[in-house]
Amino acid sequence: MLKLDARAEPSRAWTYGSPLLALLITVLIGALMFSALGKDPLKGLEMFFWLPVHNAYALGELLVKATPLLIIALGLAVCFRSNVWNIGAEGQYIIGAIFAGGIALLADVGTGRWIVLPILLAGVLGGMLWAGLTALLRDRFHANEILVSLMLVYVAVQVLSYLVGGPWKDPMGFNFPQSKTFEAVTRIPRLFEGSRVSIGALLALLSVAGLWVFLFRTRAGLALQVGGLAPAAARYAGFSSRKSLWTALLMSGGAAGLAGALEVAGPIGQLTPYVPAGYGFAAIIVAFVGRLHPLGMVFSSILMSMFYIGGELAQSRLGLTKSLTGVFQGLLLFSLLACDTLVNYRLKWQTRGGR
């Protein structure tokens, strides 16, 4: 039978190879699914892997969706590296969007372009506040951060629903539960004419560099990762686990909040109950598939963005539902976890009764 043989040290080749193998497996299962649904598998795969990159406009749209995913994932990587399981980025994203939207609603025709900065800062603050709640409950009461951060997602959804259905509802909106459309001055500046790519993409790339420096060139970044890998060693070295907890959660909350602000003052342009698009959950997959490494996550966020766009295309062109995206996302993470076994173990075929 098949036996796992522990490697002396993790295989470098498989560290990089495993996400690729996982993608291959996902694509194969995807092709099988398309055939089972009576669709041409090649046509299906075209929706996911060719159309999203086939011209300049499509590439722009790819970046528009990859931006929030990457920003959230960068924050989550800090958490996961320090063994803090923040899975409520979706909630932090929503509260960030609410805070940013609150500022954007204050703007009127006479407001200057400077308003964009307070909008972004408010988003970061909102996300930090929401993640801070999780940190507080974990730090003071030892409450499990997985459950708390996730429960807070549901609370955030209700807060948003209350605001857009009550105090912030557009009086001219035909009674739809949504805020009025933000003034044009609040729009996050775009990079090029004819594409929706905004300075958010630049901020994301800056954050990639920032995270790299933080993780690999600062004492705080080291302390955080040692705490994640070997809590006892971290204590011995005098690194504070409480400080790491707060750092990790505030950083990831701030990142998710920033993503929320960029979305709500960017492509969306108003507060609606449809602000949460599952980016907070998809970003968990982005973080793992990108190996929690800043550069790796650039690639995985683009891949995940392809899944989003592919799902939308499959809906409009092949008559399938958009939820196909979720299926592929889940499959990818599953295959990745299975393939990751190869990083730490060698597969050995052992005959029964053999030595």
Partner: protein, 306 residues
């Protein structure tokens, strides 16, 4: 007074969904495995159960389908976690994300579907007692079976040899292995059984409780069930009690709306989630208390000979 009888009745009904799932997760955690995929298993099972009832018209077939789907997904999770040593949290999370997407995808055609009218489950005689009748004696058989399930679990875990082996696998897998028990197989069995119960809870939700299918309808109940095992410090009787308490919190929002409390409905909808956070913080306040009751190997992989 009559409205309180209905509230109690609704509480038992809502608590049953949580209780079945949480008892299943309890079995999981007693052998040392946390399955964060509860929400995903419940979603897939709810969809499968509902679709089966739409097609066959039989509730029992629906329950069976839900349990089978739950067990199958749990088995995949179990093999990954127990044999391939993948991270339990990440794998469970993958299951939840996959389950949410997959159930939405496959269930699209069933969103508007109707199932046969639900039968009345009144117990002859008892159901007509004023107040107690509507509160206690007009429920689906599964509501009463859930109480039996909890009792059976208590008997099994604390009064039988097999139960002792089960608990020892969670407390000290190394010792159980040294004594010659197949630790990984026992863990897999417990995970599959837990998955089947989560599946049953999901099917009860879509076939009896609501009864309908919409995307994401489990709405965090799988996560609340996970929290319940901690609230109950891993004791079956307390799991049951906690489930009814949370069923009550869920129902309270409708009751408060019914008697005209002037609070925006969104704040009432938050109640179960906020209550979960508050109780979790209260229970976890003393870390020693959790540590004493928690299965020692919870969340830790075991690989014989490693």
């Amino acid at each position: 007074m009559e409205s309180y009888a209905l509230l109690l009745g609704a509480t038992l009904n809502a608590g049953t969904v949580l209780a079945i799932a949480a008892l299943g997760l309890l079995i999981n955690e007693k052998v040392g495995i946390v399955n964060l995929g509860a929400e995903g298993m419940m979603l897939c099972a709810a969809m499968a159960g509902f679709a089966t009832v739409v097609v066959t018209g039989s509730d029992l077939m629906g329950f069976a389908a839900g349990m089978a789907v739950g067990a199958l997904l749990a088995a995949i999770f179990g093999v990954l976690v127990i044999w391939l040593n993948t991270n339990q949290y990440a794998t469970g999370l993958a299951l939840t994300l996959f389950g949410a997407g997959f159930s939405a995808f496959v269930g699209t055609g069933f969103v508007q579907a109707k199932i046969p009218a639900r039968a009345s489950f009144a117990i002859p005689g008892l159901a007509d007692i004023p107040w107690f009748g509507p509160a206690l004696f007009r429920h689906h058989p599964l509501v009463y079976l859930t109480v039996l399930l909890a009792l059976a679990l208590i008997w099994f875990m604390y009064r039988t040899r097999h139960g002792l082996v089960l608990r020892s696998v969670g407390e000290s897998p190394e010792s159980a292995h040294a004594l010659g028990y197949p630790v990984r197989l026992i863990r897999l069995l417990a995970v599959v059984l837990g998955g089947a119960l989560c599946g049953l809870a999901g099917a009860y939700l879509s076939v009896i409780y609501t009864p309908l299918w919409v995307e994401g309808m489990v709405a965090g109940k799988g996560w609340i069930a996970l929290a319940l095992t901690t609230f109950a410090t891993w004791r079956p009787a307390r799991v049951l009690l906690g489930a009814y308490l949370f069923g009550g919190v869920t129902m309270l929002q409708f009751h408060l709306q019914g008697i005209g409390v002037d609070v925006p409905p969104q704040f009432l909808s938050m109640l179960p989630y906020v209550a979960t956070i508050l109780v979790l913080a209260l229970i976890s306040r003393k870390p020693q208390w959790i540590r004493v009751n928690m299965p020692t190997s919870l969340g830790k992989p075991f690989y014989p000979g490693a």
